[in-house]
């Protein structure tokens, strides 16, 4: 072991904020189904608190021994619409509250999986779950919700898209005293993945085993620092540099995941190769893009820069771990990235550019505050646009927007912690209502004649 390498690792962690963003334990709740809602919830609480009993403690011990921060410990569960569907309950909020109780007992930061998959159509359970979302988000603290409204194989469920526009608005209204915070815990997907460790969209897919551990790494600061050393050099060099760094970052994830899985006696699932920013200085994806030569993220060239970054991160990470999964790529949440916030404030980054960026990055319109008076149909239309990008391009896309109650363009919404703060962004004022009100389904795309 060379001194230089030891110091490089220490510097990455201390100065460049390399961290493991999350270890997420996926727990199947299929064996908790019961025709009596209260009994089902008791089984859920028992199973989750038993399985995740040592998750936080083990995470902290690994942090201590290896000297690498593990920012969050989380749990994802089988979509609750599938579990609660067998019960006679009309409102599923109580299920969300049980998940919240589990979070408090086990000490995890978030529980994901208050979810429904309605890309092709609704079951009765899906319908009840979606209607319960606003109340569930308003009465719980640690529960995250997601709804999948489209997929490449089944097209886009436009009835669900329309409904989710309204649900987002209602969730904001129910959490108006916290500036619409409920919407920060609600994400609408197309092509949702079953093994995603990141919130708000994590859930434990039915194709997964009973209990697994997934790891999400992070480290935009490390990539930025590496690119500082190759200023002005061609993109071949940029790509190689990102790949090498992504390899190193991902090795951390693999190590921590393997160690945690051994100590907890739970199989290791996947590493999600991601660059997840935080509002902290030096932890920004936007600054990486600017380091490539853009005066501000959002200007012409941003999409190309992001495409290169996203692809190089995957190429570097794939060889560094045994199984890759989740969303794997660069996240571009606005409120959680200091560079994105600055770009919006200086007028360089708008919603239209962000939408273009989502065609080449790992998720979608993420943590964006829009004016409180944005109509539900406009939000639904944003969801439809994002879903279309995902469905046509065979990738995951998502929408997590916050119509901040009472706020207008130019004001700021404060969420605190990892969620950061978001400048309220302008939306197109022309109506999409007649489009959204049609309902029905947009058929699945053809996979030939690609142009």
């Amino acid at each position: 072991m060379e001194t230089k390498q030891i110091l490089e690792t220490i510097r990455m962690i201390e100065e460049e904020k390399l961290d493991i963003r999350t270890i997420t334990m996926g727990i199947s709740l299929l064996d908790c189904i019961d025709s009596d809602g209260a009994k089902a919830r008791a089984k859920i609480y028992d199973k989750m608190t038993r399985r995740a009993e040592n998750l936080v403690k083990t995470g902290a011990a690994i942090e201590d021994e290896f000297g690498i921060p593990i920012i969050h410990k989380r749990i994802s569960v089988t979509p609750i619409s599938l579990i609660a569907g067998a019960s006679q309950d009309e409102n599923y909020t109580a299920f969300a509250q049980t998940l919240d109780e589990v979070a408090k007992t086990t000490g995890v930061n978030f529980v994901g999986g208050f979810s429904a998959l309605v890309q092709k159509g609704y079951t009765l359970g899906d319908r009840k779950l979606i209607q319960s979302i606003p109340e569930a988000m308003a009465t719980t603290e640690f529960v995250c919700s997601s709804v999948n409204v489209g997929s490449t194989r089944s097209g886009i469920n436009m009835d669900a898209v329309k409904q989710m526009g309204g649900i987002v608005k209602e969730t904001a209204a129910r959490t108006a005293d916290q500036q619409g915070l409920g919407c920060a815990k609600l994400v609408i997907f197309a092509n949702a993945v079953e093994d995603n460790p990141f919130m708000a969209g994590a859930f434990h897919g039915v194709g997964e085993e009973d209990c697994i551990l997934n790891v999400g790494v992070s480290g935009p600061g490390v990539v930025k620092r590496a690119l500082e050393k190759v200023k002005g050099q061609p993109f071949d060099v940029v790509s190689e540099t990102v790949k090498k760094i992504a390899f190193k970052i991902t090795r951390m994830g693999q190590l921590v995941g393997r160690e945690a899985s051994e100590r907890l006696g739970v199989p290791f699932g996947i590493v999600d190769l991601s660059l997840a920013p935080t509002p902290a200085v030096g932890d920004s994806v936007a600054h990486i893009l600017e380091e490539m030569g853009l005066e501000s993220v959002g200007t012409h060239g941003t999409t190309a820069a992001l495409a290169l970054l996203n692809d190089a991160v995957k190429k570097g990470g794939v060889m560094a771990c045994s199984h890759v999964g989740g969303l794997s790529g660069a996240f571009i949440p606005v409120s959680e990235d200091a560079g994105m916030i600055d770009a919006v404030n200086r007028g360089a980054l708008n919603l239209e550019k962000l939408e273009a960026m989502t065609a080449v990055c790992s998720v979608g319109l993420d943590m964006i505050a829009v004016p409180g008076d944005t109509p539900a149909e406009t939000i639904a239309a944003m969801i439809a646009d994002e879903a279309a990008i995902g469905v046509i391009n065979n990738k995951t896309t998502a929408v997590r927007v916050i119509p901040a109650p009472g706020k207008a363009v130019g004001e700021t919404v404060e969420f605190g912690g990892l969620l950061g703060h978001a400048p309220v962004m302008a939306v197109n004022r022309h109506k999409s209502a007649d489009f959204i009100n049609r309902g029905g389904r947009i058929p699945a795309p053809i996979h030939s004649f690609k142009n």
Partner: protein, 89 residues
Amino acid sequence: MKAILTVIGKDNVGIIAGVSSKLAELDVNILDVSQTIMDGYFTMMMVLDLEKASNSFAEIKESLSEKGSALGVQIKIQREEIFTSMHSL
């Protein structure tokens, strides 16, 4: 279990003596040492063997950190795997 110890701080009399006597007290064996002055800072790295150590990792970490404060340097101890996994295939 092997671990890497790093000591960084302002150069002073007795840092190596202080650190190694503390390690001896904790029954920690030193396998390798490298020490240099980088940018005016005392920088030392040790490869340690904790097999025979009488205390837990957390306790060793805690008492080394206290020793560091007394010597006016920063002492870190991390499991070796974090470095080997990052830098070797």
